[in-house]
């Protein structure tokens, strides 16, 4: 929310804080009409007084009136003088409700309505007044927001009432915020002890107050304020470092998810699958399709989309393996071209069958929002989920490759196909299973990606080059290498971004990898021993 600092007449708030808790319901329509009538004047000064009288009236409806006034939705009918609240101001006729009874009042032509205009000073007055009103609500979150809003706008008249409020408040966070509000006020008065209370707070208004205190005439206060400020800035730097790291890991987890399937098909099997990106896209579209099947249940459909996305992509992978790749064994460059053709066909298929436009996948509620670590640092939940998902997928894949019969057979076939066959392993079957596994993981990546970006026909194309880079950088045939490479490339990208911009950061990373491959052609973690002889 945009914060407009304002000076709130102290008397008003003092009165208000005293009055509100004890106000009796006075839902008298005539009195209400009179209160609103006072707003319909052109002078902003008179409007300010009218707002004051609304606040002090103790009318239960005043909260809603002020809210709507702030939004410009409180309007007056030109002819009848009736006050209404506009629900939606689109089109020619607007649906309205009556401002006194809050009952539906049909539609009114926008030509018949007069908006009650406010200016910035009034807006500030309204916001502070609403914040104070909100300090008395039952909802803890609303109280916290209100207390945060009051930071920096506490004045002498409010000190006493706020003290009382702190005494009766049972939420510690609200108490802390109110104390800070008082401390800012005391700091402005030149109280050096207030600085100790403000230390370590990351709130921008606290910083602003400390900043102005450094200009104080009292050298002691100025010094203490700058010391506190320095401390806060240190914390902020750590915070922004952590944030960069988080975004980097998040980007890295996306890269890992996109590349990990490729690490199996390309790294372990040695098949260049340029259609890998399109398998990711299929996974994302499966999520979208699931949501179309189960409208209104984004959470359930997302959970169901995980196995479904895996299955769809795995089946598509099997089709590609059987239809194209098996004929091109031992001819990697031809495989590259043929699967590129497959990727074009899949893209166009989606464009023709579904739509060339992007589709939006709704995020379930438990994935939206963010996790507050402290006032300067919050982690968006959907990215946190994707990060966790990537790690889980990676762990499962490691388990499959290391602990199951399939994994053993896959490793046997890649190391020595002829010998593995001689030992009774059906190599063709293993090929199919491995390719299905790698493709299925691509589908999982698609499910995760649908939560971060729009789902469109070009979704996969954007990731294919990055995915290959991650696999090659990490060392072909090495799943750990893919994990480390993906995460570190993500972090490098995010660290570079503030210096050189997003596009240049990507270019720098690409050039870095190109040069890196010259130096270490087998990646970060080259395979050793017999596997390296491949």
């Amino acid at each position: 929310m945009r914060m407009i600092r304002c000076f709130v007449p102290g008397l008003l708030l003092c009165l208000l804080i005293g009055l509100v808790p004890f106000a009796q319901a006075q839902n008298d329509d005539a009195a209400g009409q009179a209160l609103l009538e006072a707003l319909a004047v052109s002078s902003y000064e008179a409007k300010g007084e009218a707002i004051e009288s609304i606040i002090t009236s103790g009318d239960e409806r005043s909260r809603r009136w002020l809210d709507e006034l702030l939004d410009g939705k409180l309007q007056r009918h030109k002819d009848t003088g009736r006050f209404v609240i506009v629900l939606e101001n689109r089109g020619r006729n607007w649906p309205v409700i009556d401002a006194l009874s809050f009952e539906e009042a049909g539609e009114m032509s926008r030509r018949d309505l007069d908006r009650i205009g406010i200016n910035n000073a009034l807006r500030g007055q309204l916001q502070s007044a609403l914040a104070v009103l909100d300090l008395y609500t039952d909802d803890v979150d609303d109280r916290r927001d209100a207390a945060r809003e009051l930071l920096g706008s506490v004045d002498a008249a409010m000190v006493e009432p706020l003290r009382e409020l702190i005494g009766s408040e049972d939420d510690a966070e609200v108490r802390r915020l109110l104390e800070q509000g008082l401390a800012i006020h005391r700091l402005n008065e030149g109280d050096i002890e207030a600085i100790a209370e403000l230390e370590g707070s990351l709130n921008s208004r606290v910083r602003a107050a400390l900043n102005s205190a450094t200009q104080s005439d009292d050298p002691l206060v100025a010094d203490a304020a700058s010391a506190a400020l320095l401390d806060i800035e240190q914390k902020l730097r750590i915070n922004s470092g952590l944030e960069t790291l988080y975004f980097g890991l998040s980007l890295g987890s996306v890269l890992v998810l996109a590349a990990i399937g490729l690490a199996i098909t390309f790294g372990v099997m040695g098949v260049i699958n340029m259609a890998h990106g399109e398998l990711i896209m299929l996974g994302a579209y499966t999520t979208w399709g699931m949501q179309q099947l189960l409208p209104g249940q984004p959470g359930l459909s997302l959970v169901l989309a995980i196995p479904a996305g895996f299955a769809v992509a795995a089946l598509a992978g099997i089709a590609i393996e059987r239809g194209v790749i098996q004929f091109l064994k031992g001819r990697p460059l031809e495989t590259l071209l043929a699967t590129f053709g497959v990727s074009l066909i899949l893209q166009q298929l989606v464009r023709t069958v579904i739509s060339p436009l992007n589709r939006t996948v709704v995020s379930p509620e438990w994935m939206s929002g963010s996790l507050m670590i402290n006032e300067g640092l919050s982690l968006t939940l959907n990215r946190l989920f994707v990060l966790g998902f990537a790690l889980v997928v990676f762990a499962c894949l490691m388990l499959v490759m290391r602990r199951t019969r399939l994994g053993l057979e896959v490793r046997a076939v890649t190391q020595n196909r002829a010998m593995a066959r001689a030992m009774g392993i059906r190599a063709t079957r293993v090929d199919i299973m491995t390719f299905a596994l790698g493709s299925g993981v691509a589908g999982l990546a698609g499910v995760a990606l649908s939560q971060l970006t729009n789902v469109g026909p070009n979704l996969g194309q954007n990731y294919i080059i990055d995915s290959f880079m991650v696999v090659v950088f990490g060392g072909v045939g090495n799943l750990w290498g893919t994990l480390v490479a993906g995460l570190s490339l993500g972090v490098i990208n995010q660290v570079l971004e503030p210096w050189v911009g997003a596009v240049l950061a990507k270019i720098v990373v690409l050039v870095f990898i190109i040069l890196f491959i010259q130096k270490r052609p087998r990646g970060l973690f080259p395979q050793k021993g017999r596997a390296a002889e491949g």
Binding site: E334, G341, Q348, M469, Q518
Partner: protein
């Protein structure tokens, strides 16, 4: 002289004959016949054919490295686009003060971006000889640096393909940036004249078509000369058995570098001829997809034949023109299908289908019989081993 050797080959004679006859025929049909004659070739078609011919030259350049050196470059579009940009910069400078903003020196997009002087790398592009030199040198230099690093480290096979793709992708991202000074998203366009010939006049367009045809003929002859020389034989040996060639005492990376740079220069020339005919150059020419498409032309025509590359380029692009005009949605299906069909069922391309066996191809002997359809699998039989020797 080594350059004259190709003229003694029957395949080259035939190719040059067909090409020159086609040039003469199109010129005649365009100039001599009235516009309402059914056999009249319109100037629009001439320009279209000129575009195909510049693509064909690019395909020849790709075939030189893929067919005879075993390097599948997925980044030749970058060399093509660099040549195109060099030409585009010259054409931009020729606009002079006739641009929308009327600045005598700065191109329109620089005025728009509030630049007050030309960046240093734009200097000299008002002189045609310098610009034409850069058409060859800029891609050549990039290929030299890139190839030097890659071949010295013995990055081959799939790895090389992927990093060439990364190279053109990085360049595409870079050229999309306005700050680069190459017109960003919109690229360079609104050209007026080339060597003071009006680019919009029919005569210039026909001239450009003929020039492209001649450039293609020259490029073809140069490639054939390289291929038929001892150097060409060493590069074919590198393609078929890199390690063995190295053990025989050849500095494989030098041969690779030379051929790669020549190929990049040819691609640059193709780009420079392409730009004035199409009238625009923008960063999409750098897109990895375009480069892969070029490889498809070569694969369809038949790699390792050079004339196959020309046939493939013209056929695919003709099909593209027809398809995108009649049913645009089907084009990507057709293109994707072509990729699959050609690699699975037609590994030798159209040239292989025709069954021609010209003298110049006898070197496809003993070695390629065993693996006739896969001249690029180098020495080993598994796919990820392209860099196997590198760790040795």
């Amino acid at each position: 002289m080594w350059l004259s050797r190709p003229f003694r080959e029957r395949s080259t004679q035939l190719f040059l004959g067909v090409l020159l006859a086609a040039l003469a025929a199109v010129t005649f049909l365009n100039l001599a016949l009235p516009a309402d004659n059914p056999f009249h070739v319109s100037t629009y078609t001439v320009t279209l054919l000129g575009k195909y011919l510049s693509y064909a030259l690019l395909a020849v350049a790709v075939d030189l490295v893929w067919g005879y050196l075993g390097i599948l470059s997925l980044g030749h579009g970058a060399f093509f686009a660099l040549g195109g940009y060099a030409m585009g910069m010259y054409l931009m400078r020729q606009i002079g003060d006739r641009g929308t903003y009327g600045d005598p020196v700065l191109p329109d997009f620089m005025v728009f971006l509030d630049w007050d002087s030309l960046p240093w790398y734009w200097l000299g592009f008002d002189m045609p000889w310098f610009a034409f030199l850069m058409v060859i040198l800029a891609p050549g230099l990039l290929a030299l640096v890139f190839g030097f690093l890659a071949f010295r480290s013995r990055v081959t096979g799939v790895y090389l393909s992927i990093i060439t793709q990364a190279m053109t992708f990085a360049l595409m991202l870079a050229f999309f940036r306005n700050e680069m000074g190459f017109g960003g998203n919109n690229g360079l366009t609104d050209f007026r004249e080339l060597l003071s010939f009006d680019l919009r006049s029919d005569a210039t367009r026909l001239g450009l078509f003929i020039a492209t045809g001649i450039a293609l003929a020259l490029g073809y002859v140069i490639c054939r000369a390289i291929v038929a020389s001892k150097l060409g034989r060493v590069s074919v040996a590198t393609r078929d058995a890199e390690a063995r060639t190295r053990f025989l005492g050849y500095r494989v990376e030098r041969f690779q570098l030379f051929v790669f740079v020549v190929s990049a220069m040819l691609a640059g020339v193709a780009g420079a001829l392409y730009v004035p005919q199409v009238g625009i150059i923008n960063p999409s020419e750098f897109s990895p997809i375009f480069s892969i498409e070029v490889v498809l032309w070569v694969a369809l025509g038949g790699r390792g034949t050079l004339y196959g590359a020309v046939i493939g380029a013209i056929l695919v692009n003709y099909a593209k023109t027809v398809f995108t005009g009649v049913m645009p949605d089907a084009w990507l299906f057709a293109l994707g299908g072509l990729f699959v069909l050609v690699t699975v069922f037609l590994p030798k391309g159209i040239a292989g289908l025709l069954g021609y066996r010209f003298r110049g191809h006898r070197f496809k002997g003993r070695h390629s019989k065993r693996r006739s359809s896969a001249p690029d699998t180098s020495t080993s039989d598994t796919s990820t081993s392209g860099t196997r020797e590198a760790t040795a």
